[in-house]
Symmetry: C2
Subunit: 366 residues, 2 copies
């Protein structure tokens, strides 16, 4: 085995088994509850039974694909429903790597750790492009790293862990680099409903045969456990990705697809706006405490996370455990996200106890 299991579950277990009260800022599990349509949809589905409990079409329930397509302004044939954003990225990266157009996958540093793991599992080679301290990605750096051997450029916007939201010009240039190298730009946009400041530009805005967008309902509908996500593909890649999806998973869980479809139809935009407002308040509370703790941090424009760096206290796994045991706050070690942030910690703001965590950190480091 040449690929590693990401650390998330390990750190969460350590925090759960601690002898003291710990505020969990490890997981990306929304704590604000799903919209009512999810539970209603599941109840409705549970009563159907029979044929409705059997295989959904491999690419997804037709009505769900059509709903997604209508919202994203694409043809439903280009939508393939997948087992969460994780499987959507697996499908996209698998496709990029199997085309015979190179074996390199260009990633950012810091990086969401599943991407390098998937790259190696799928037989690709990792390359990393450092981002600026504020999380900004310079497409010129991507161009300098990419080559004829580049199969994919994988980005996440809004970004986990930096909180950056890549602007329109950045996205346009990334698409151009992918086209120049005959690579696929895989744009993972699972946090697209959580832009806290500024505008969001999906890679779908650009009409290109070199873009695959991945997304999921895990975060937007607070159902990380359901495993319902999707890819939107250029037409030429649809048959191969359908086949890979079929040969890996056959199809995506039907109760989850049914519940998501119901919730998409029933959920008011207010639900998403309230979640953004709540996150903005938490960012404010948490960064105020980080100031008191003398920490450096990135103010996120989107997603759920704050990267923070405490004086003389690098973000190692050892220190992560120490913070759990001594401060009662569980974050993720920055080293889990690549070399450039090994001094930092990532804190997820998806707990109602952000204020408690903030006070504990201010006390511990203050």
């Amino acid at each position: 085995m040449e690929y590693e299991e990401p650390l998330f579950f390990e750190v969460m277990s350590y925090a759960q088994e601690a002898d003291r009260d710990v505020v969990d800022m490890v997981s990306g599990n929304p704590d604000w509850g799903s919209p009512d349509g999810i539970s209603e949809g599941l109840h409705e589905y549970a009563d159907l039974g029979g044929d409705d409990f059997q295989y959904a079409p491999s690419a997804g329930l037709r009505e769900l694909r059509e709903e997604i397509a209508a919202r994203r302004g694409v043809d439903a044939e280009r939508v393939i429903v997948a087992n969460g954003g994780g499987a959507a990225n697996y499908l996209a990266m698998g496709r990029a790597l199997e085309r015979g157009s190179g074996s390199e996958v260009v990633l950012t540093d810091p990086v969401y750790p599943y991407y390098p793991g998937k790259t190696t599992m799928l037989g690709g080679e990792q390359s990393f492009v450092p981002v600026a301290d504020d999380g900004t990605l310079d497409p010129a750096d991507v161009r300098a790293t990419a080559s004829d051997d580049t199969a994919a450029i994988v980005v996440n916007t809004p970004n986990n862990p930096t909180g950056a939201v890549y602007g329109e010009e950045t996205m346009r240039e990334l698409v151009a680099v992918a086209e120049e190298c005959d690579a696929i730009l895989v744009s993972d946009e699972v946090y697209d409903h959580f832009v806290l400041d500024g505008a969001f530009t999906s890679a779908l805005s650009f009409d290109s045969e070199h873009v695959i967008v991945t997304n999921s309902y895990s975060k937007t509908h607070a159902i990380t456990g359901f495993r319902v996500g999707y890819t939107i593909l250029p037409r030429e890649h649809v048959p191969a990705v359908r086949a890979r999806n079929m040969l890996t998973n056959v199809s995506t869980t039907r109760p989850g697809q049914y519940a998501v479809l119901h919730a998409l139809r029933e959920t008011s935009p207010d639900y998403h706006a309230e979640n953004r407002d709540r996150l903005r308040e938490r960012v404010q509370t948490f960064t105020t405490a980080l100031d008191a703790a003398g920490a450096e941090y990135t103010e996120p424009d989107g997603a759920f996370y704050v990267l923070a760096k405490f004086p003389d206290y690098p973000g190692t796994l050892e220190h992560t455990r120490e913070l759990i045991d001594e401060a009662g706050v569980a974050g993720m070690p920055g080293s889990a996200f690549g070399e450039s942030r090994s001094e930092w910690f990532r804190f997820a703001l998806v707990t109602p106890r952000v204020e408690t965590a903030a006070e504990r950190l201010a006390d511990y480091f203050g």
Copy 2:
């Protein structure tokens, strides 16, 4: 793309779009309904919300893994819950191929078409061992085909499409061949509750570091759409398979896992016994009609299928479409299952209209 999308969905679509009434004998979707525990479990889960809607542990809900482990007589650490039998086989075959112990996957002919597709997708080479006309697999033939380059031997017992149930001696010998070649015997046992005649021997009966068993609740609980299956692994392979599962799917759908756990606890063995009785009756009805149609066929000892061969009417995709349009019966072309059965059709007995289909075939060929 060097791997093919199995034909099932294509044939089902053709049958659904036909201008006439068609009895669907294509899919392996049980028609007898799930046990009540499935629907009850889903309702119970739908009311939980919050944290219970978030990620299950990547390897599966602890209580479900323990329930599976207790039933199968293994340690829970050896159980990994997967997105259906399809993903369980993907994980097992992926593990077998990545060990550096060869790239050949030995399959039977006829074969369940997902196995050769997965083999190619995972970078392996397919080899086929023909089975006898009655579906019996001779381990000596497997030994003659296997070599130092063999990474995996993949078998399905009870078998789709032949209906064979491999006996204890066969299974023991297959394990021995896997050990001799440093290969993994992947034993896909998703039809283990559907042994119609004779005894069932799981590959788990043999204490070997060279056996991975895969299984699923799709057939046993009539929930092919839920996507809940599992692998049971030797300890040494657990970390790598956990990592592959995490990097492909993150985790398996939690509503489905919860419903399966509830159903496992609530379902009487009578449910499974009644399903077997029903299948036995259908086999009787169907094979009686095949006699009237002058067909050859295999009498299944297990699973849901009958392979049949009509005089001067090979089981091509063209003839499959013709039978749909002219006889109103949809089967699968034998050619989908390998070269040895290209003269045959596979009929799935998971429809209440077996008798109608039988009469139609007897009329058409009689």
